[in-house]
Amino acid sequence: MTQNPLRVPALIAGLALLLPLAGQAGPDENVLTIEDQTIGTDVPGPEGGPLDHLYSGWRFRTAETQSLQTDDFENPAFTAVDQAEELWSTVDGAAEKSCESCHDDAATSMKGVRAAMPKWNAELGKPHTLETQVNQCRTDRMQADPWKWESGQMLGMTAYIGLQSRGMPVAVQTDGPMESWIAKGKEIYYERVGQLDMACSNCHEANYGKMIRADHLSQGQINGFPVYRLKWAGLGSIHRRFKGCMSNIRAEPYKVGSDEFIALEAYVASRGAGLSVETPSVRN
């Protein structure tokens, strides 16, 4: 009996549907290559940290979502990145300066910036996130209006600046004045909150790699932010993602840009130390 060739694709489709039920433990084995550059998506966890091995969220996504990030022409975040590249050299504010006036070529001056954020700022007496650093430049040096945290300009600019660190290992300061911020962030990370009474660690430390309904739980790493999220149909910040998670467990989220979220960002960045910057990444 000859096999009907039409039945084969149907069988494959059937198997694909069964896969999530069959258990898809852990990250996949795919390799991320963007524009011929191989980006490491797993590294041994930092010593003394809770995770033996760190995995980028890219490793937990479907092949379709993964492929969007492997080509900058396919990556939907690059519309905003291209606009930000223009903004970089556009004069704005009373001081009649652009970013370029002080920082020249972003490819050189901004290299490594994303990898080290949030970064202690003595003058401010607290860590700068990339967003607050950009706004300080705008208000103090350019005498221009600050951008809103989740505005198109801010997301584009932080994506463009972040891109200059792509492939570099996340290396946030954890000692000195950052120590207490990291400690505060850790407290928030492990605190069970909301009506559902859950902590970040319940999903992203104890259960990463498992399916929570149709979603494959990642380690919640932030090495790819701002991220183009298909669900948002746009770029979003680290703090927006924190806020969404907290609302899902029916907890009052901290405010975007709050000290609590800055502390959490610093701590989560420290948990991902050594992972490569992927900004701007694509997730579902």
């Binding site: 549907l17 999530p20 039920l21 258990g23 605190e191 069970r192 909150v193 909301g194 009506q195 559902l196 009474d197 859950m198 902590a199 319940n202 999903c203 104890a206 259960n207 498992k210 399916m211 929570i212 309904r213 149709a214 609302s247 467990i249 029916r250 907890a251 009052e252």
Partner: protein
């Protein structure tokens, strides 16, 4: 079956007031525990309805049990979670007081570290959103309905 339709307004009302304690219900603070964990007395005067419980089990804003558990009795819903154990046969593994204790508050019943929410508990995490503050995730009747459903899984 016809009587189910007559019940519809009642069900709708019950959904609207989910989480609020109705007259005749045992409030979370008044639950009597056996061995500090299990609950022998039903939370309501009305016997649990397995068909209604199955709906609460699936509903993402109510039980949302499939987020974490596999349940082969609900094949029409794709993507069952794998955080908690499979619930296949759960009605044969535990008796009713045990099941009730676990659904009401797993952290009290079996494991303080469990990430399973307490579905009829006010001992929740800090900073609960205002609209959910002081409310249980499920109403007493919804818990009893889910329990009646779980009992059918043998």
């Amino acid at each position: 079956m016809f009587k189910r339709h007559a019940m519809l307004p009642v069900i709708v009302l019950a959904l609207c007031t989910a989480g609020a304690v109705s007259a005749g219900d045992i409030a979370p603070a008044d639950i009597e525990y056996k061995d500090g964990r299990w609950i022998e007395q039903p939370l309501t005067d009305v016997a649990g309805d397995p068909a209604a419980g199955r709906k609460v089990f699936v509903n993402r804003k109510l039980g949302n049990c499939l987020a974490c558990h596999v349940n082969s009795e609900i094949p029409e819903q794709p993507f069952h979670g794998e955080i908690g154990p499979s619930l296949d046969g759960v009605g044969g593994r535990y008796d009713m007081p045990m099941l009730r204790g676990m659904v009401v508050n797993m952290k009290n019943a079996l494991n303080p570290e469990s990430l399973m929410p307490g579905f009829y508990s006010l001992d929740n995490g800090s900073r609960t959103l205002e609209k959910f503050a002081g409310k249980t995730i499920l109403s007493a009747q919804q818990v009893e309905d889910v329990l009646a459903y779980l009992q059918t899984l043998k």
